[in-house]
Every structure is written in C-alpha cells, then in structure tokens.
Symmetry: C2
Subunit: 450 residues, 2 copies
C-alpha cells in the first residue's frame, strides 16, 4: 500500500454513473432467449408486454447496446440514497492478518436495507412514464417489497405486494414498513385472485410460497381489464442486472479514485441481481480482454444452483406460468430446506450469469449456513455493520480469499458486495448464537440430479 | 440559491473533527453543579469515580476547556460509520413549496440506528484505557444498549445491559442485536441484584422501568469487589453532550463547504444528547456573539420537560440513587403515559441545555405524537428514509419552520437533526396508520405543577 486509503470512499454527486452497463452488449455469445412455454419459441416483445411495461421489455431484449442512459428522475431518486460507500475493511484485514486489501461496497444504507432499491426505482419510473395505474409484485422476506414500496411512494405509483403468508405473519414489521410507504400488502395465498382461491380451497392451512405469490401478482397484472397494471420482479431478469450495474460502476469509479484494480470480486448469488450488478464493469473488461479479475459467486449449500445445478431450460417460477429460461437450475419444483435462513432461496440463476459461468468467466462456491453466520458475527463485531444473511455469504467468501492470500503471501485487492443489513433477520442470528442452527445439504435426488 | 448544492454533503476523512467541543467552556455563567444527595454538596471527582470511569469524570467536571482532543482509537472507530451525511431535503422543500432551504444531519446510518454510538465509543474507550474489566448500563427501547454493545465488541470490553423487561420481551430482536455484539442482556428487574430482588419481591409481575434498570446497573458497578466495573449513561450528562458535539462540528464543516449558515436549528430533546451535540458549535458562536441562529428544542407533549417543567434541583433517576441536577424537570417520579411511542421519555433535561434554555439562548416547543407521526410518514414517502419517532419530532419542527418561512416569504436556512431510523418502532407506525394512536397531554398535577 503506497498511499493511505480512507476508510470510506464516496463519489461526489457529479462522479455518479449516468448510464447503466448492459453486460449482454459485451458478450460475443449471448445468453439463450426466454422461451414461451405455450409456443415453444422465444418470447416476443408483444408477449412480454402483456406482463411487463414496454420500456422494461425493450431493456430485457436489448443484447447489443453496451450502455443505456439512466433517465434524470431515476438519477434524482438515486441521489436520495446513493452513492453508496466503498469501504476499506481495515479492521477485518488486521483481524485476519492478511496482506490482501479488502474492500466492500455497502448497499444497505437505505430504508429497504438492500440493493433492491436500484431496480425498484427504475421499474416504477418506467411504469409511471408509460401512464400505468399500478404495479404488482411478490415478496418473501420483504426486502424487494419494501424497496418497491419506497419507489412507489416517491413516484406516486400504487404498489400491490403479495407477501408469502408465513412472512406476512412472522414479519409484521416488514409489512408495516411497506404500509408506511403506502403499499397495499396482501398475505398470499389470498382470496383476491383465482390462483389464490384455488390454492386455499385445496390447502386451507397453507403458509404460502413464493411461487404462489408470483402467480397471484402476475394474475392481477395480466387480468386487469383496463390493461393499466404490470408485474415487476426484483431479480433474475436481464433488466434487473442492467439497473443493478450502478453498484459495479460506482465501485469501479471509487477504486479508480484510489488507484486500485480488483484481483478478486466476491458476491452472493440467489437470483443474481446483486452479483450481476457488482461485477458488471469488471466483467465487461474481462470480456474485452482488458483485465482478468477472478470473479466468485457464493451461494448457500442448501440451494446450490451454480455449484450443483444443471444448465438447461427451466421455468422461472414454481407455478410454471412464467417463461422458461436457459439457466443453472435445481428444478423449478425445488424448495430449499425450511431451516435455511435468509434469502438466496431461488431454484435458478440469472440467465446472463448462468451463461458467463458456463463459459468459465466466473467461478462459484457454496457454504453451509452456520459457517456463513460465523463470518457474519465476526464481521459485525469488527466492522460494526450487522450484515444480512445473504450478504454474509460474500463475507465468508472474501474472508476465505483473504486467508488464501495470507497463506501465499499475496497482496491482492479483494472486493465484495455487502448487499444489505440484517435487522429483520434476528431470529436466524438468535438461532446461530444459541447453537440451535442446523445445516442442510440436499441430496442429488432433491436437486433433480439422477 | 446561487450554486447548486448536492443532495448529500459528505466530509472527506481528513475534514472530520479531531476535537470535541465543550459548550460549558463557552458559557460565561456555568450550569449549577451536580449535588450529592447524601452530603447536600457538589459531587466531588472522587465520589463520581466510584461509579464513572476517571477520564469521564474529568470531562463531566471540565467547565473551562473549549475543546478536548478526541483520542485516535475513537477517531478510528468513528471512521467506521462517520462522517454522517448532511442531506439537502430537496423533496421536502418542493412538497412544502417553501423558499427555505432545509438540511438534515442523518445519524441513523449505523447498526445501532442512532447517534448514540458517538458517546458509546468514547465511554467504552476510556473504560478500556483505564484497565476496567466491564461496564454496565440500562436500556429502554434498546438504542443505547445496542450502541454500547457495538462499541464494546470493537474495543473488546464486556458490556452488561439491564433492559427494561417489557422491552426485553416485546423487542427480542433488539436484544438479539446486542447478543450479536457479545453483550450480556438481562431483563430488569432481575434476581442478579439486590435492587432487582427487592422490586421482584414487592411486585412479582412488574414489567420493569428505566428507573429500576438504572438502579440495577449502578448497583452492579458500585458493588464490584475488585472495583473494575463502571456504569455508563447515554444521555443527560455533560460528558455525553461533549462526545455528541461531533454531530454539530461535522454539520458546521459541511455547511461551510457549501457556503451556508443556519438561521434555524431544530432538534428533538429527550435527555438532550442529540440536541446538545447538534447545536454545539452554533451555540458556541451564539455565546460568543458571532452568530445568532434560532435554536429550537422539540419535545413530546406527553413528556414536556422544557415547555412545562420547572427549573430546579431534582434526581436524575426515578430510583433516587443518582446525584441531583439543576434542570428542567417534571419530577423524578413522573412516568410518561404508556401510550407514548418511542423515546424522549425522560423526566428531566440535560443541565447544560436547561441552563441555556433558562438563559433564553434557545426556545422549545412540543407536539402531540399523532402530529409527529404524520410528519414522519410524509418525510419517509418524500425523502426515502423511515425516521425514528424521536427524530420525527425534529422533522415536524422543521416542517413548521419551513411553512412559517413560506408564509413570510423568507429564504432561511433550516437545519435539523435526523437522529435515527424507525425500523424497531413499527408497532407505533402501525398504530398511527391504522388510526389507533391516541394523544396524551399530562395535567398540571401529573407534572408536579401545583
């Protein structure tokens, strides 16, 4: 280390990115297209426009533009909570006694508590610009629903959130936060949709599932007789990775300011929204042959899409009403073990990241959750911030990379994504601290490997 | 407005304050001293050292130094979560259609969720530097206990928190956060102290009180046979205002950067820690006759120490074991209405602020909580951040000041303190949104006015 790097690197407002980066624009071989299961052919723009708003469909299908301008109202919204800090983890480096430099991009400094707001703002803005009257979505733990509610309040767009019933009941505070932002939050399954009524008739005592909540939210959007409602989704889709590229672009600008280039980039991966955003400009350089950072996706051993899934076409949702995507998947019927805490529970993976992983542009590893929580508690005590369980997968990955550097005496620059805070995940922390947390690794049959 | 002010003004690391500001050093007439109730005379340093650690006693009694250097380890800790942003509330200005400029200093971007960490870090550091083995404290809603736990983890100092039983049971997540940082959290009253056992024997079903928790925490510190335990307190004391001056010093430095001087400064006031810190450098200028900003303390109508209390010697605690302070008080037996949400429930007020208020260097006003929550929800929807109920008193005060500017066509600069976030106060938000919140204003008899 030549010059002294500050603990936190903030960009000035005029240094903030004004364009998103479209990874697909840099890929020579593009990801395979979404398939309409009823036609067996690639989804057309018109088919997608029945569910998603027009501009977002255009972004979803845009595989050529390298950059897309961020509209000014979205930039203005970003300024409410961005730039997020790039933090030098001096304490962690010292505790690990590693020669590596460790940096993390912290996306938790906003009320939604995560990076989800970056795409929520964009999706709500485009819906408003199109003159739509409302949007629907589903939420599990509640981060995405909260982010969407915040953006809805800002752009004055009504938001209806189908919240998995078990979360609705166990996390009333999350629901209340969405209410503060004016969102209509419905426990799913509900009697407000045909899908919900059918499921309730068959399973009156069900606690709900993400798959069911998606079905309800999509039904409400698709069946609006005035066709002025659309469905929005917080991860997996190409458009979401596009919006989340603001994370990586800020990270790169901040590293440039201090004259650093990342050797290793680590991010947690559920649907891929955070990881895809964090790595965007670095992957672009890698695809162009200008740099060659090691990029590591970290996922839970209980839901190991990349590390143990297969690369094939599969439904994006459990209810099998959404398009099929070519991706690493555990099978759309896969339900992660109930004892798994936090997010990253998605059976598949962003098609863009799946393709890049398949092309060996990045690697992946998985950890059991007790190891992840051990890293989370260590991080909280040293660096101050209480991390979300999802983000803590990246912490664990970064710690292991830093220890590897120590073993080899390598002075590498490690960057990881700290996607959010864990204030609403205290039950899981309590389980860990009291020794009641157990780990689960699915067997081959459960993940569809014969 | 001549030049365009960014949404958020961050100081660079080398612009952060390296000294605290001691308001007492600027006051010609000093606040009256703490009185030892058993001698009837001013508390001596030795008497205070039985409960507080040595350096903090020195700071408590220091009425002459204008500035006190911040030790490097505390500066390093501050860098983990400071500087906090000074935010230009463009959205709020527009929504209010006011010619005023509104700024807020946001102290909630850390895991404790409030400004309390500024003093917790200092108090834990001095305890560690003195070679003490542990510290004790009480906590109600849990912000102070969380802050102290975080600092304890960082400086490797064991922390024991007596948490009011009703909060311990109703807010298990707060308790769990403290556990993550390694604190020992005990529901008060407990069987671990004589005071606790006595109260439990008399009132086996009690839900506890702050007064009782203080008694337990002080007893543990004072009765340690090795004399290596001390008690720490998160508000009211002069030393706490000293540490919190970092808020105001950063605010002033940020305003200087954009060429602004505050005309009106608004802060919420419970024990006075946040307000005293926010106004520190501005009050110093006012005391020196260099500037004359209007300074407004905002308190709840249900606990109106400044606006309706009397200025006299009173006990600092309900249990009457602590020294007596000359302050605005509702009487140490005053218990705020149970329907009052959030903090600011203290019967008294910082002796420094009480003296300044008595000397007409600042004004005060009170609001009922439904008006405060109305302002909170408005703020959340426009500015994004979900405010703590305490902080929302300042929001309401700032909004009213901005509307007054609108009426008079005045282009004033308003600065208020946004002390924290409301993630752990969703029950109160829910009551407000569902119309179940009621307001309470104590009658004269309840506040000891005959």
């Amino acid at each position: 280390m030549t010059n002294k790097v500050p603990y936190k690197i903030y960009l000035n407002e005029d240094e903030m990115p004004t364009r998103w980066l479209n990874i697909k624009g840099f890929m020579k071989e593009k990801p395979d297209p979404l398939i309409n299961p009823s036609t067996g052919k690639p989804c057309t723009a018109d088919e997608l426009k029945a569910v998603f708003c027009d501009e977002l469909v255009a972004q979803e299908l845009n595989a050529t533009d390298k950059y897309i301008d961020i509209p000014q109202p979205i930039l203005d919204f970003y300024k409410l909570y961005r730039p997020s800090p790039l933090v030098r983890a001096y304490g962690l480096e010292k505790a690990l006694d590693t020669p590596a430099e460790i940096y993390y991009k912290f996306e938790g400094n906003n009320t939604s508590g995560s990076h989800k707001l970056n795409s929520a703002a964009a999706q709500i803005y485009y819906a408003k610009a199109q003159g739509l009257k409302s949007v629907t979505t589903e939420t599990g733990a509640g981060q995405w629903g909260t982010a969407l509610s915040m953006a809805g309040a800002f752009f004055d767009m009504p938001v209806k959130v189908y919240m998995v019933k078990v979360s609705y009941e166990q996390k009333p505070f999350r629901r209340n936060v969405m209410n503060v932002y004016g969102a209509d939050v419905v426990a799913s399954p509900s009697t407000t949709t045909e899908a919900g009524r059918r499921i309730l008739a068959e399973h009156p005592d069900t606690v709900g599932s993400l798959g069911c909540a998606i079905s309800e939210a999509v039904e409400v959007a698709a069946s609006d007789p005035t066709h002025s409602t659309r469905y929005v989704l917080g991860s997996v889709l190409d458009q979401v990775l596009l919006h989340q590229s603001v994370i990586g672009l800020e990270t790169k600008a901040a590293l440039d300011k201090i004259g650093r280039k990342p050797d290793i980039i680590v991010g947690c991966a559920g649907g891929g929204s955070n990881l895809g955003g964090l790595i965007a400009p670095f992957m672009a350089e890698k695809l162009e042959g200008k740099a060659n950072p090691e990029i590591i996706a970290v996922e839970p051993a209980s839901c190991p899409s990349l590390t143990r899934g297969t690369y094939r076409y599969d439904f994006c949702d459990t209810g099998k009403i959404c398009p099929q995507a070519k991706m690493y998947t555990l099978g759309c019927d896969f339900i992660p073990s109930a004892n798994h805490a936090g997010g990253l529970r998605y059976h598949g993976m962003s098609p863009i990241l799946s393709k890049l992983y398949h092309d060996k542009m990045m690697t992946a590893k998985s950890y059991v959750q007790s190891d992840v929580f051990e890293a989370a508690v260590k991080f909280a005590r040293i660096e101050g911030t209480l991390p979300a369980p999802e983000s803590s997968h990246a912490i664990k990955g970064a710690i292991d990379a830093a220890l590897e550097c120590k073993k080899k005496g390598e002075k590498k620059v490690i960057v990881f994504g700290l996607t959010g805070t864990g204030y609403f995940d205290m039950k899981a922390y309590d389980e860990y601290l009291s020794g009641r947390m157990t780990d689960y690794i699915p067997n081959d049959k459960e993940i569809g490997v014969e």
